[in-house]
Amino acid sequence: MDIYDMLFWILSAIAVSCALGVILSRNPVTSVMFLILTFFAISGHYILMNAQFLAIVNIIVYAGAIMVLFLFVIMLMNLNADVEPQKGQLVQLAGVISGGVLFLVVLAAIKTAAPQPIEKTSTDIGLITNLGKVLFTKYVLPFEISSVLFLSAMIGAVVIGKKEEIPNIQRGE
């Protein structure tokens, strides 16, 4: 067992236990903290697999921006463990059984797949130079379309989030 395998098992244990913490903790803020730890473990996996650029983007975008947004909304609504709505025991058990059944079915499907060995030597396909070359030649059209997606998402968030005063004004006129 070399250092790659040891790091794989350690990071996997952190990722799975923190993911369980996300769904089991009563306090939403604790859930967010566990999810950030899960994202850091997944970023560790990316670095292990020579995807350095994606590891940094994962930390900046997910752990940095998205989770701060979640935390901000949770604190805005003043949610804590006392006001946390709970499902009945039976529904929770049904949820766990459904997820477990999905796990077992897909596990049975991929169990017989031929294992592909992983080259543990360092490659440079995950560096920003190579990714940028592929992104701006082969995938330049999806890249431009994603900018339109971002613009529409931004406008949509503003339109949804603003207070509904315009219909009242129109009714008053």
Binding site: Y4, D5, A15, V16, A19, L20, V22, I23, P28, S31, L35, T38, I42, H45, Y46, M49, A51, F53, L54, V57, N58, V61, Y62, A65, L69, F70, V73, M77, L79, P85, K87, G95, V96, G99, G100, F103, V106, L107, I110, A113, Q116, P117, I118, E119, T123, I125, G126, N130, L131, V134, L135, Y139, S146, L149, F150, A153, G156, A157, I160, G161
Partner: protein, 101 residues
């Protein structure tokens, strides 16, 4: 036994199933949203693993685009949740079944 593709398949399947369980177990809309992020990340992990195995950069760019879509999704989704909280002063998804009346 050295780490191979099957390990990564099992790991991302486990993370995905945990996300499914969380989405079915919880009633808080924000936690359900976080479980969806967890499922997206499980898929990203598998794509990077296969990018490493087949030495191909395309899979890593797909991860990049998934992150773009996830960021847009979070912006719109959180706006909807804030709007819902402003209307009913709760993030309990069971309240949303009033929509059918």
């Amino acid at each position: 036994m050295p780490v191979n593709s099957t390990h990564y398949l099992f790991l991302s399947l486990l993370l995905f199933s945990i996300g499914i369980m969380g989405a079915l177990m919880r009633r808080n809309a924000i936690i359900i949203f976080m479980c969806i992020e967890l499922m997206l990340n499980a898929v990203n992990l598998l794509l990077v693993a296969f990018s490493k195995i087949y030495a191909d950069a395309d899979a890593q760019l797909f991860v990049f685009f998934i992150m773009v879509v996830a960021a847009a999704e979070v912006a719109v989704g959180l706006a909807i949740i804030v709007m819902m909280y402003r209307k009913v002063h709760s993030v309990d998804i069971n309240i949303l079944n009033r929509l059918k009346h």
